[in-house]
């Protein structure tokens, strides 16, 4: 169920069998089903999936930011030793910003447009008991760490005075200012130009290495996943269908969905052939089929696939995949 990695360090974040659902009068609609993932100190883990796969919801569930009627319906999430599922607001608030930090896709909606950026960062620090003077110093240090020019002056800018890339750097600075152990990022570079994205990824990689920070990076961009994360979990229809070292997954995908996804991504090098297409579309929450959710779109589906739900199993290449059919049979 979990990743058995070489390092024996305790995971910073341990998600075990997490389920999230939508509570309505008619019952509970499953959105995420039994997701497990570990993130160790100094590790960059990616969560990849298309719309509706549940990747962003997983992030929100970890942070305790699900809004009713969406709620965790099972499983556990532990940060160090602390259980986050069902934790009190107080516990969660104490952890957010100091132990766990989150960066979102759109810095314009995460930043208060009416407050100077430095003040927003410092305010977050002060909420965790840091003195005014120290908060101010740490703010400037954080802005410098994300390589913003003239950090002291920039701290006095308003969000709208900064470009998209700079705002995202501010978000990262705000996230890191509290010295978290874990950084959660939900597609923070998706809306940025590719050259800026490159800078941001480089920057985060450098900072992450320097601080030995654990990172969970959600993205739909397989290129970003390939370049940036060491381990990757592929989500489909609310489940993790494949998880393991990035290089292994890209060179030898063990799940038909992963393989199909990789075939569908165009590249800037190599032969120019028709892109792989996946027939049909992902099942909507509330109508997840019995058995494997991918079976209806899978060329190699066996009768068994629609009756039973495959679970993650270790493969020789070092990844875990949830599929009954051996790769040799569905590889063209």
């Amino acid at each position: 169920m979990t990743d058995r990695d070489v390092t024996s360090a305790e995971p910073v974040l341990a998600i075990r069998d997490l389920s999230v659902g939508l509570r309505a009068r008619s019952g509970v609609t499953e959105l995420i089903r039994g997701v497990s993932l570990d993130i160790r100190p100094g590790e960059r883990v990616g969560l990849v999936g298309e719309s509706g796969s549940g990747k962003s919801l997983t992030m929100l569930a970890v942070m305790g930011l699900l809004a009713s009627p969406v709620a965790v319906t099972g499983g556990s999430v532990t940060l160090g030793g602390t259980q986050l599922v069902g934790a009190s607001d107080r516990t969660l608030r104490a952890l957010r910003g100091s132990e766990i930090a989150m960066v979102y896709q759109d810095p314009m909606t995460s930043l208060d447009p009416l407050q100077r950026v430095g003040e927003q960062i410092a305010e977050g620090l002060r909420a965790h008991g840091v003195s005014r003077h120290e908060a101010s110093e740490r703010t400037v240090a954080a802005l410098a760490e994300v390589q913003l020019p003239d950090p002291a002056r920039l701290a006095r800018s308003y969000p709208h005075e900064l470009s998209g890339g700079m705002r995202q750097r501010v978000m990262i600075a705000a996230a890191l200012a509290g010295n978290p152990r874990l950084l959660l990022a939900d597609e923070p570079t998706t809306a940025l130009d590719v050259t800026i994205q490159r800078q941001i990824l480089s920057l985060v990689a450098r900072i992450q290495r320097a601080r030995n920070l654990a990172v969970l990076w959600v993205t739909h961009d397989l290129g970003v996943a390939a370049q940036f994360v060491q381990r990757l979990a592929v989500m489909y229809a609310g489940r993790v269908v494949e998880v393991g070292p990035t290089t292994a997954i890209f060179s030898d995908p063990q799940h038909p969905y992963t393989a199909a996804l990789l075939d569908a991504v165009p590249s800037t090098t190599g032969e120019r052939a028709a892109l792989g297409q996946i027939p049909g579309s992902p099942p909507e929450p509330g109508s997840f089929p019995a058995g494997c959710s991918f079976a209806s779109r899978c060329r190699q589906a066996l009768p068994r696939c629609t009756r039973a739900e495959p679970i993650l199993e270790q493969r020789p290449s070092g990844v875990e995949a949830a599929c009954f059919v051996p790769p040799a049979e569905w590889r063209a």
Partner: protein, 350 residues
Amino acid sequence: MSSPAAPVLAASDLVKIYPPASRAGRPSTALAGVSLDLAEGTCLGVVGESGCGKSTLARLLVGLERPTAGTVLLQGQTVTSFRRPELARRLQLVSQDPFSSLNPRLTVSSALTEVLLVHHRVDGKKQAAARVADLLEMVSLGPQFASRLPHEMSGGQAQRVAIARALAAEPQILVLDEPTSALDVSVRAGIVNLLAGLRTDLALSYLFISHDMAVIRQLSDQIGVMYAGRFVERGPWQSVMSEPLHPYTRALLQAVPEPHPDGSLLGGPEGSAEESTEGTLEPGESPAAASAQTGCKYAPRCPIRIDRCLTEEPPLEIVTGAHEAACYRAGVPVEPGDVPAEAGGVGERA
């Protein structure tokens, strides 16, 4: 295709300046002199980052806005000389978000039939219904989609409907403005394949605009790279992709994260050579500010700039074969030790 035939769509020195947004502001130059030729039956891919002017170019080409200067020629005639319906029968647009570009109150059938009837592509409602079924099949949608409303479809399906609607007018040219950017990876692949197929099946010409280099590469015969309202490089897709001449193109290509893990950002002590030292000027984000300066607009961020670059704007010129670049040092490889770039990464491509 090196046919000497007249281009099916041509633009000549297009300039578009927008008035200042507020009283204290300055006018912003979205396009600073763009010329292009689209050869019949080919696909010209226009790539650039935000603010480069590619969307403005799309709007000018389809006649939604008028250029401040310059002309757009459609099959030899200026676009402004056509009446709206005539133009629509030759040139159509597919936009980024199908849920905005489709009327939320019209069923697929109503929307398509309207186009068919207005442009007299059918005689009467019965023929229209048959043609609607044809169009749906052309975009690989089943006949049950005829009665659907936009919100009853997925993004990929809705975009197929938008394409069908454009095709209903039977144009020869399609301008596609980021048609796949709002779609998931696997859905995107379907649309890209569909567009490729339609182009050959219907002998269409495409102007395909995107910020995604990989998608552009997939479909284009020619690729043009835009920066701050101009083309800075243009040529056959193979040349531009594998032997980029302009430093900005190199930076773009180098920045695209390839879906092949190569360890560049993973582990290891490197990283410092690739990073920018500051984040102030981001490419194409303020063409207005860029347009205020003389010389090459990319120069402030260019790792291989020379003095001339800051004073004289380099023209877009043929460098080799059919491959053009607007750079005094086109083709000069960028070494890691060069003048520090302010963004984009100093590439290792030679």
